[in-house]
């Protein structure tokens, strides 16, 4: 306890409302936030350093793991950068498949956010409903890429897997269900009184402040700035059609909720359009192993906002420097400003409202031939892997796991 009846309360590094380690040292006077010191960086994994000593193809898999939720966005940006450096044109069909996956990712990211927001304000029913719907999107992504989270659809010069009519039919059917649900959430957000009472007027970041602190994505659009890289600097398939930029004037958490829900409807529209207009042809262009010398800055719109990759090549098969600016990194700057003067009760939802990025561990599913599912734990996956290599003449059973793994 500090003097003047002020209480210093630590939120994090470990706290039920945080999905990643981060520390917020909140000074309270009464229930009001007087000051907050933000400590982040607990998750720094040195990925950029790791990228410098590996080839571009290996880096693709590292970049995919920058974020668990926007894995496709990071590989898209990275691939676009490398393709620009190599002067390769990606086939149209691949661009459309990338766009479909990107919008599916936006859907699952926003549904996830809506659930987390519900949980932060004690509305667990919303959490359960949205995460149930998110499962449907994850199933689609698993059907497309073979994995729920790191679907690895992208590769240099195009995409790894083609989509056929049966998947399009599956996507269309799921989208019809989802559209109904999302419209329901929209109605809920507009009519449910406690929800509105808890979301309106908190975490305010005005238009001027949002621009000053470099906010991006739904945080910026909720402040009334129509900035979306898909229209500001169209890339890939977005060059061929219009994207409606969703904005809101509320500039608070409620505005961000509304923007995200409406963006989901827009994503559904884009996916339908992409399926309808899907061009025929190849899905992969050849990219040389050695990338010509040069530097490039790529911008693209991830679910959380603008994602920037800086890539510098020195003419070898390994990059000289890769720098990723994830959207959350830009949104942290306004956080202190947002939290000052808030009630303690609103701190978790205000933090959650910028949708801070975290890596999420995936559960593993093995699908047996008869279609039944089984959840596999870490030990049995390890055993499966060891057996798999044993059959091919490699014995890995003696390799000890490093401490802390």
């Amino acid at each position: 306890m500090a003097d003047d009846n002020k209480v210093i309360i630590p939120i994090g590094p470990q706290h039920p409302s945080l999905d990643e380690p981060a520390s917020f040292t909140v000074t309270l006077s009464g229930e009001r936030v007087d000051n907050v010191v933000i400590g982040i960086g607990y998750n720094h994994r040195g990925l950029e350093k790791a990228c410098e000593s590996r080839t571009y193809v290996q880096d693709l898999y590292i970049v995919e793991r920058v974020c668990g939720i926007c894995s496709h966005s990071h590989t898209s940006a990275f691939c676009m950068g490398v393709e620009q450096l190599a002067g390769v044109t990606v086939p149209d069909r691949a661009e459309y498949i990338r766009a479909i996956v990107a919008e599916l990712e936006r859907l699952h990211s926003h549904l996830l956010w809506l659930g987390v927001a519900g949980h932060e304000i004690g509305f667990d029913t919303l959490f359960m409903y949205t995460w149930r719907d998110r499962e449907k999107v994850l199933d689609l992504l698993a059907a497309i890429g073979g994995n729920r989270i790191n679907y690895s659809v992208n590769t240099f010069g195009g995409v790894r897997r083609d989509l056929d009519e049966s998947i399009f039919a599956k996507i269309t059917a799921t989208l019809n269900e989802l559209e109904k649900q999302i419209n329901y959430y929209l109605e809920l957000a507009q009519t449910e009184l406690t929800l509105k009472a808890r979301l309106s007027g908190i975490g305010c970041l005005s238009k001027e402040d949002a621009l000053k602190f470099g906010a991006t994505g739904p945080v910026l659009r909720a402040a009334g700035v129509a900035q979306d890289i898909r229209t500001a600097e169209p890339y890939g398939a977005y060059k061929n059609f219009e994207v409606n930029v969703i904005t809101h004037t509320a500039a608070d958490v409620f505005g961000r909720t509304a923007v995200r829900i409406l963006e989901m409807l827009e994503s559904i529209r884009i996916i339908r359009h992409c399926i309808k207009e899907m061009p025929e042809g190849a899905i992969l262009a050849k990219v040389p192993r050695r990338i010509p010398e040069g530097e490039v800055i790529v911008r693209m719109e991830a679910p959380r906002g603008e994602n920037i990759h800086y890539i510098r090549s020195n003419g070898t098969d390994k990059p000289d420097r890769i720098r990723v600016r994830a959207p959350s990194e830009a949104n942290w700057h306004g956080m202190q400003h947002m939290l000052k003067g808030e009630y303690l009760a609103d701190v978790p939802i205000s933090i959650a409202a910028i949708d801070p990025c975290y890596s999420c561990t995936d559960r593993a599913i093995t699908v047996n031939s008869d279609g039944t599912r089984k959840v596999t734990d870490w030990q049995s996956i390890r055993k499966y892997g060891i057996d798999w290599y044993k059959k091919r003449g490699l014995d890995m059973a003696d390799i000890r796991l490093e401490r802390g793994v």
């Binding site: 209480v7 309360i9 630590p10 706290h15 039920p16 409302s17 309270l28 229930e31 519900g118 949980h119 932060e120 304000i121 004690g122 509305f123 667990d124 029913t125 919303l126 359960m128 409903y129 149930r132 449910e192 406690t194 929800l195 009472a197 808890r198 009630y343 303690l344 009760a345 609103d346 701190v347 978790p348």
Partner: protein
């Protein structure tokens, strides 16, 4: 013989044993309903018992700064308070185990005990989260206690008695008069939810803000008894509300017991529904709701009841 009968009533039915069994059952029903409403499967029927016995078996850890005596005593005091209150509430028909003129006041005071113990438990846990939780508990109490008292006392004005059994008796003889008390019934449901610290009034225990408020330092046996006491409190409160506002009786003991379950479970259903469809309110929003809307509503009910009473007399 009479002593034995009394002991049976106090300890077994409708006393302590019945109360605790029904409390666990109510917790199960509440959790199961909540889960089904949220599209989940929910727990098996024995999970509340299993939770209780699991916690009983766990190690009790009390850190050095906390006041060990208070930490250990509070759950017992809380449980004793609710169990005693239950004795004055009629389960079978209109007669409670004990009753005297004015016992409704006693019941309300006993029912304040769990809240005060929560506050003390949080305060003497000497943890930041618990302290903030404790201050929220007491703030919230000042918000809902007044409308709760007013709406529970309003029906007694018409019945012209200050005993719970008396009120039940009166309204079961004049069931139509119960309709006059409908606004007070609505106020009672909301304030009972608030007293139970359940959504939308779960700010004192808000997991995502202050971890679990007053209970954050609780482990093992004290936690088990606190949870049991919270379950019992729920049953006592819904029984009280049903005795005062839903006084429909048949006169046949077996049918009356069945009626008791139907009425209390109906109220439980409403409370569960309320906590499923709402987000958590901030403490200041709870205070605003109680003082700006619930108190005037309860006050209006009292005035109406006074007029009705004068008209009946």
């Amino acid at each position: 013989m009479e002593v034995l009968q009394m002991l049976f009533k106090v300890l077994l039915f409708p006393g302590f044993l019945f109360l605790t069994s029904y409390a666990f059952a109510a917790e199960y029903i509440d959790r199961k309903l909540h889960a089904r409403m949220q599209n989940r499967k929910g727990p098996k029927w024995y999970i509340p018992f299993a939770d209780f016995f699991k916690l009983i078996g766990k190690q009790t850890i009390i850190h050095d700064d906390a006041h060990a005596g208070i930490i250990k005593a509070m759950p017992v005091v809380s449980l004793a308070g609710v169990a005693t209150a239950f004795i004055y509430i009629p389960v079978v028909g209109s007669s409670a185990v004990f009753s005297f003129e004015g016992d409704i006041i006693i019941v309300l005071y006993f029912l304040s005990l769990p809240v005060l113990t929560q506050f003390l438990a949080g305060w003497y846990s000497r943890s930041l989260y618990a302290t903030i939780g404790a201050s929220r508990v007491i703030t919230q109490m000042f918000a809902y206690e007044v409308p709760l008292f007013m709406c529970l006392l309003a029906p007694s004005l018409i019945a012209n008695t200050w005993s719970v059994s008396g009120i039940t008796q009166y309204y079961s003889e004049h069931p139509l008069y119960a309709l006059i008390n409908l606004p007070a019934f609505a106020v009672a449901l909301i304030t009972v939810q608030s007293k139970l610290s359940k959504a939308p009034f779960d700010a004192p225990e808000a997991e995502t803000e202050i971890v679990s408020g007053p209970y954050v330092e609780y482990t093992g046996r004290p936690l088990a008894f606190f949870r049991m006491s919270a379950d019992c409190e729920e049953v006592v409160l819904i029984s009280l509300v049903s005795a005062i506002f839903l006084p429909f009786l048949s006169g046949n003991a077996v049918i009356d017991v069945i009626l008791y379950f139907v009425k209390t479970l109906a109220i439980l259903f409403v409370l569960t529904l309320m906590r499923t469809v709402t987000a958590r309110l901030r403490v200041n929003q709870t205070v605003t709701l109680c003082w700006r809307y619930l108190v005037p509503a309860a006050l209006l009910q009292m005035i109406v009841n006074l007029i009705v009473r004068g008209w009946l007399a």
